[in-house]
Symmetry: C2
Subunit: 333 residues, 2 copies
């Protein structure tokens, strides 16, 4: 537990140190976000703020996760699986950001170009997890001690969850401190869940689950450090490299802990962003042009309803904290 706290502190300090080095460098490279034409008009003032801030917290989190992880007992794979999954999705996001910056094309990759590597990667990870003797096709059922064996259906289900989660995290990004704040709280909750799972019935510790907790704690600290630069008024955005990494890391943790079914509670605000987007799109199609929300994802609807950005972010943080507490209540005696 102490180790977990030190991991948070260290990765926080790391991100605080990387920020002031990276941000001026990104500015010099003119890695400014070309603000998407689809966002609310008030976002035009954000034109020029540098993006790719994910590069601040991703390396900070990885270095601290490795430094504070427990060695000794033969490691199965968990930490490397987590780091690799996060990095692969970060790479897709990086490519998207890079194209936005270089080509000055606000949308970056086309939706198809974004989705195809995600789906392929999702399937690959799902197949790997299904065949791994340490993961397999059984999911834990939240708020119970039951396990649910999905059989071969585990593969399409997991691939779907991966792609959905990564895109949800990406959709939540858009207001200063929103995705980083929600992500920070989510990883704090996941760290505590993995920690409580790492204590085995016989009192010994499962090192792999403990290292998963360390990974989550490192991300939590790094995101807190990143928030120092990302809170309203943001001096850097996380970019797709950041939001894809958050979504990828979150789903990777859910896979190794077999807690995918609790993700909709923990990542509630991210799921909300996706769902509102889907509802908007579907209704627009069905009704031939009518809208449910003033703008999707939901956070922009609130913005256009006149709620100040900082208030929306606070509301989302509060809701995230509450949902995480509800999820946690299933893990403590």
């Amino acid at each position: 537990m102490q180790r977990l706290i030190f991991a948070v502190l260290a990765s926080f300090v790391a991100a605080m140190l990387v920020g002031p080095i990276l941000i001026p460098w990104l500015k010099k490279l003119k890695v400014g976000q070309t603000i998407n034409d689809f966002g609310p008009r008030s976002h035009m003032r954000k034109q020029g703020t540098v993006t790719m801030g994910g590069l601040i917290f991703i390396p900070s989190a990885i270095v601290c996760a490795i430094l504070f992880s427990v060695k000794g007992q033969t490691p199965k794979y968990d930490l490397w699986f987590l780091i690799l999954t996060m990095l692969l999705f970060a790479a897709i996001g990086f490519l998207d950001d890079y194209i936005k910056v270089v080509r000055k094309r606000s949308e970056g990759l086309t939706p198809k170009q974004k989705l195809l590597p995600q789906i392929l990667l999702g399937i690959a990870i799902a197949v790997f997890a299904y065949n791994s003797p340490y993961i397999g096709s059984k999911l834990r059922v939240p708020f119970s001690s039951l396990e649910w064996d999905l059989g071969w259906f585990y593969i399409p289900f997991t691939a779907f969850v991966i792609v959905a989660m990564v895109n949800s995290s990406n959709l939540l990004d858009g207001l200063d401190g929103l995705c980083a704040g929600s992500g920070m709280i989510d990883f704090a909750a996941l760290a505590l869940i993995a920690l409580s799972m790492s204590v085995l019935p016989d009192g010994t510790t499962d090192n792999d689950l403990f290292n998963t907790a360390i990974f989550c704690a490192s991300l939590c600290g790094a995101l807190l450090g990143f928030l120092r630069f990302n809170t309203h008024p943001a001096s850097v955005f996380m970019g797709d490299v950041g939001s894809f990494a958050i979504g990828g890391a979150m789903v990777a943790v859910a896979i190794v802990t077999r807690q995918m079914l609790i993700l909709p509670i923990i990542a509630f605000t991210m799921v909300l962003a996706s769902l509102s987007d889907l509802i908007q799109f579907a209704y627009f199609r069905i009704s031939h042009g009518k809208r449910v929300f003033r703008m999707a994802p939901l956070q922009h609807h609130f913005e256009l309803s006149g709620i100040p950005e900082t208030r929306i972010v606070a509301m989302y943080d509060i809701v995230t904290a509450m949902m995480c507490l509800i999820a946690l209540s299933g893990f403590v005696g």
Copy 2:
């Protein structure tokens, strides 16, 4: 632990429900804050925002603390001591707010009128604690298993800590969400500290310490609910009734857990507000009119240095979280 989470959730919901009832009512009574002439000029826009928001989270926290506390075993006193201390300081703050509102005198009570009841109350509480068979004159030394017996010196020391803490909390109040945010994180940390102390070496639970944890958790949840209305741009301020209650509750928890020596770490930002105020005042006197900070307490110095209010509050929250994690690291294995 589950009980603790439910206390947070319930008091959060309670505060969320009380807010929309109380705020319009305060508005109707014209309980607007007359903005202090001594604050930064930009604060003039805050003129008219209702105050006395402490009345939202104080009853929410008390009701939930009572509801979720453990009965059974003969209770010593802890919960009632905590509630009473908080209420008495809240009453002094209420009086101050009331005079501000009714007399439209921005300063409320004069410093002497404020300080005298605080000192008297502080001494009374210190004497009570000193003579209590359950508290006594021994303090726990942070990051060690040592105890430090202060003897009769416990009384002036504790009275000083009480008055200092209550005024520090009051001085930190001034930016939207600042005192409530710091307080919320502090009480979360204190809840975990009391919880870890409540598990006795023989594996049984000390109900009084557990109820102290419940009290902290209830305050944490209620403050989170209050933040819904208090975040920038705030629709209600906590007022002296709120900040005195927070300071009073915090020091009361430190007294019953005998953890007064860890308060400067947990309540670091509050102590910072006090210290910067003292330094400013002392230097002003010594140098015949020079200033160390552009304005004291420190948070206003940052404001006048051009850092946006939301950014300062985020910085303070982050620093509070880090200091609390450091304090917590002394309580976990």
